[in-house]
Structure formats: C-alpha cells, structure tokens
C-alpha cells in the first residue's frame, strides 16, 4: 500500500498516533523517574486493585441475582466483599485525588489526565449510588424514597427513576460500570502516555541557570 493511501486511513492514523504517544515501553515500563518514591503513589494502584475486587464480586452477585445474598451465607459473604471493596475503593481514590491535587498533577500537558480522573470520581459516586439502590433491603427502600426528591426537583427523575428497581439494576450492572471502566482505562493510559508529573520545583535550577 502506498504511503499516500496510508495517510488517509483512519486505522493507520490511529496506529501511528498510538505508537508515537504510547509505545510498549511506556505502557509496560521497567523504570520510573527517581522522584516516584512516596507512599502516596501506592493509592492509584490500590484504587485499581479495589476496583478489580468490586468487579469480581459484582459479577458473582450479578450471576446469582439481586436477592441471592439475603438467602445464603456464601451470598452474604460475597455481598460483604462487594461492600468492603467499595468502601476501600473510595478511601484509596480520595487519598489518590488529594495527593494529585497537592502535586498539581495537571502540569505539563496532563490536564486531561486530571479531567478523566475527576470524571471517574463522579462516575464512581453514581455507580455506588445505584448499587445502594439495588440492595433490595430496607436501606435501598429508604434511599430510593429519599433520593427521588432530589432527582425529581430538577426534572432528572423523569428518566432516572430511583424507585424503579429494574432500571437501577440495569444501570448499575451495565451502563455505569461501562462508563467508569472506559474512563478508568483512558485515565490509566494517559498516565502511561504522559508519564508521572515531575516535582513542582524539579526544574528550578535549570530555569535559573538559563536566565
């Protein structure tokens, strides 16, 4: 195929952009900048790990149905796995977020990395909220009853009906995880492509010498 034709191809353009911005050495690195040496860096991978446990336990719950965990000890245990992994997920993610804020991690063309992280945080809250609505217990009864007023007050309740178990269950196991999953993958790929943000004062000397 001629170079001319290749230039016009979407597939070829995507491949070249991918190879340029995210070569395999960046995607699966064996070195890190020396400054990546603080406990705060652990909370990104901890968040992803907790998400992994959430997805695994959630898949089991999905296969067994929304009421299974009320009726069996194994079910209640899997529900507990889901519950605690969600709790840890948010703890890790909030610490990760605060850490990145104090690092001003959006510096050096990393704005979209921050934005995707922020969207992932908001999407996580939505995903967790729909999870609380589909517990099929007293808690979900009360949360749906109370939450309807908030969504109805701005008209969203017309389409996002928190008292509709079927709708919320579908959103929780399909739509919301899809959004969160896609955003998370993009976020991680951007971290790999752009690299970990350097320390705020890392280039002070260089800049002073150049003055």
């Amino acid at each position: 195929m001629s170079a001319h034709h290749e230039k016009e191809m979407w597939t070829a353009k995507l491949r070249k952009a991918w190879q340029k911005n995210l070569p395999i050495e960046k995607l699966l690195p064996d070195t890190q900048p020396a400054y990546v040496a603080s406990w705060i860096y652990l909370f990104g991978v901890a968040t992803l790990s907790a998400l992994g446990v959430i997805i695994f336990s959630g898949l089991i719950l999905a296969f067994e149905g929304p009421s299974w965990y009320h009726l069996s000890s194994p079910g209640h245990f899997v529900n507990s796995l889901h519950f605690w992994s969600v709790q840890l997920f948010f703890v890790f993610m909030v610490i990760h977020l605060w850490g990145k804020f104090w690092m001003a991690a959006w510096r050096g063309n990393r704005m979209l990395t921050w934005v995707t992280g922020g969207i992932a945080f908001v999407a996580s809250i939505g995903t967790a909220f729909t999870g609380y609505l589909v517990q099929t217990n007293f808690d979900s009864q009360w949360i749906s009853y109370e939450a309807k007023d908030g969504f109805n007050s701005v008209g969203i309740g017309a389409w996002f009906n928190v008292t509709n178990l079927g709708q919320q269950l579908l959103l929780h196991v399909a739509f919301m995880p899809l959004i969160l999953g896609v955003i998370t993958v993009i976020h991680v790929l951007m971290v790999r492509a752009k690299g970990v943000v350097p320390p705020i004062d890392a280039f002070n000397k260089v800049l002073e010498e150049k003055k």
């Binding site: 400054y35 519950f83 948010f90 309807k148 007050s153």
Partner: protein, 317 residues
C-alpha cells in the same frame, strides 16, 4: 529557552529507578484482596430486612388505616406531590422554573385506584367491604372526594383512632380502609401493588410512594439515623460505614437556609438548589486546573515538599 511548561511536558530525562509495573499491580491486588476478605469475614455487611405492607399493617394498623384514607382523600404526600407522578402541585422551583412540572408526568400514579380501589378488586373481600366497593364504584368523583375528605378530617381530629370518629356522611370510606388493612395484613397487598395487573414487573415506584406516605416507614428510618437532617444520606444501618463520599451533598441539608423548609426560596426548594450546587461543584472538581486561585494552592501550600521530600534532599533542591 525552555519554559517550565515545556520541561514538565517533556519525557523525564533525569535519574530513574527500577519499576516492575506488573509485579506492583499483582502485589497490590493480592494485598487488597486479603484486606477485603478479612474485613468481610470479621464484619460482614449490613442487610436490614425490607419493610413489607404486611409488616406495616400488622405493626402499625392505625397508621396504615389512616394512610389508606389519605390516599382516598388525596391528602397524602404522594397524592399532592406533582410531577413526575401527578399534576396535584407545581412542585419545587428554581426561580421561575418548576423543572419537574415543565417535563411533566412521566410516571403517572393514581393514588385512589392504584393504591386502594384496584388492589381491593383483586381480593376476596368480606361482604361489607365488597358492598362498600360497589358503592364507591357507583358514585362520581365529586362524591368520592366529599366522603373521603370528611372522613380523613374526622379521623385526624380523633388522632387516627377510628373508634372515636363521630358518625357522619363518610360513604364506604371506613369499610374500604378496613378492607385494605385486612388485605395488607394477609400479605396480598404486597404482590398486587407491585404487579398492578401485570405478570412481569420491576418498577417499585407505587409501592415506595405508598410506603413513604405513612409514618411507620419514616419512624424506622429515624430510629436508624437515616433521616436527611441527621446526615442520613451518608449513614448506614447499624455501625457500618455508609456512603461517606456523599458528605458534601449531605452537608448542605444541615445548614441554613437549606435545613429550614419554611425559608423561601432556598429552604423550601432545598432539593433543587442543593442538586444544582453539587452539579457545579462536581464540574469544578473536573475543571479544577482551570480555576484561578485553586490551581495555585499546591504551590502556595507546600505539601509537595513532603511528598517529594527524598527527591528534594537528594537533588539539594
């Protein structure tokens, strides 16, 4: 000359250290899994049993009876809610906009028929309830309203004690409420309210609205510290952590003017205003690097000196 931005954007050219991303990921996953398994084994998870209409009618029959009368009279919370359930009121507003009303009735609920009359038609009623049902069905809506409001008012004055309600022109309303109480106690109402004559059904809107119209459901929530004015949005049953990440959302309901439903316009329309505030704050979080002042904080408050302490020492920065 390179600017700071260009230097921070460029691939790192300084010192590096060994880093096995797969090993780190695997180790993290294993450790987190062990922690989650341990927490689950030791603490379990909350699962308070759902409230049924049978439970409500059995434990608080007077409350259920009075709520049934309110549904017939159109004085219950959901009967006067407005959109998206009915047109009884204009609902909350933001300035001149009643957003739910503009969108309209998307989940129609007919409190009289959906909650009381239709369920009763599916039940094997006692003769006096069956007669009352025929009397109701033979009357017009104006008469329905006159009967029901008269009895609702009288029942309210008698502190929901039906035995102390003076004689009056209440039509078949007392018998209908008694019939629905009997049906609820038998457990039949739970299924009928959900199915509404269908085989497949997964929308609990009508059940939830009816349940919320009574005091029993609210009382259970108050006892569990789940009410909105006690940070209920982020609480959980028992001693378990709840949705702590909703603390900011919950916070607004605790402070003036949002915690005073009589305060206009913000308190009376707190749900809408708080939803809008949280929307703006969520957007602000996503766009934080663009907000003047906020984006400068990390440089002004040197938490980063702690994070990169070792690097700064090694590089003598």
């Amino acid at each position: 000359m390179s600017t700071r931005h260009e230097l921070e954007s460029a691939p790192w050219a300084g010192r590096t250290r060994r880093y096995d991303i797969l090993k780190e990921g695997t180790a993290a996953l294993l450790i987190i899994t062990v922690i989650v398994v341990a927490l689950s084994a030791f603490f379990g998870s909350p699962d308070d049993k759902q409230i049924t209409f049978k439970e409500w009618a059995t434990n608080a029959p007077a409350d259920f009876y009075a709520t049934s009368v309110q549904e017939l009279a159109g004085t219950s919370g959901s009967a006067g809610y407005g959109a998206p359930y009915n047109t009884a009121s204009s609902g909350v507003n933001v300035g001149p906009f009643h957003l739910a009303q503009i969108i309209g009735v998307k989940h129609p609920v007919d409190n009289v028929n959906d909650f009381v009359i239709t369920p009763l038609t599916t039940f094997n009623n006692s003769p006096d309830v069956a007669t009352a049902l025929k009397q109701w069905q033979g009357a017009d809506s104006k008469t329905h309203l006159a009967w029901a409001t008269a009895y609702d008012s009288a029942l309210g004055k008698a502190n929901q004690d039906a035995s102390k309600v003076p004689a009056g022109d209440y039509g078949p309303v007392p018998q209908l409420a008694t019939g629905l109480l009997t049906m609820a106690k038998s457990g039949s109402l739970d299924g009928v309210l959900l199915s509404q004559g269908n085989y497949f059904q997964n929308d609990n809107t009508k059940q939830t609205l009816f349940l919320g119209d009574g005091n029993y459901f609210n009382d259970q929530s108050t006892a569990a510290h789940l009410q909105g004015d006690t940070w209920g949005m982020m609480n959980e049953n028992g001693r378990y952590p709840g949705q702590a990440w909703l603390w900011l959302y919950s916070f607004w309901y605790q402070i003036p003017p949002f915690n005073n439903g009589d305060s206009h316009p913000f308190g009376a329309n707190a749900d809408a205003y708080i939803m809008i505030i949280m929307g703006i704050l969520s957007l602000s979080l996503v766009c934080m690097p663009l907000i003047p002042g906020i984006k400068a904080l990390p440089r002004k408050i040197p938490v980063h000196r702690l994070i990169w302490r070792n690097y700064y020492e090694e590089e003598n920065l």
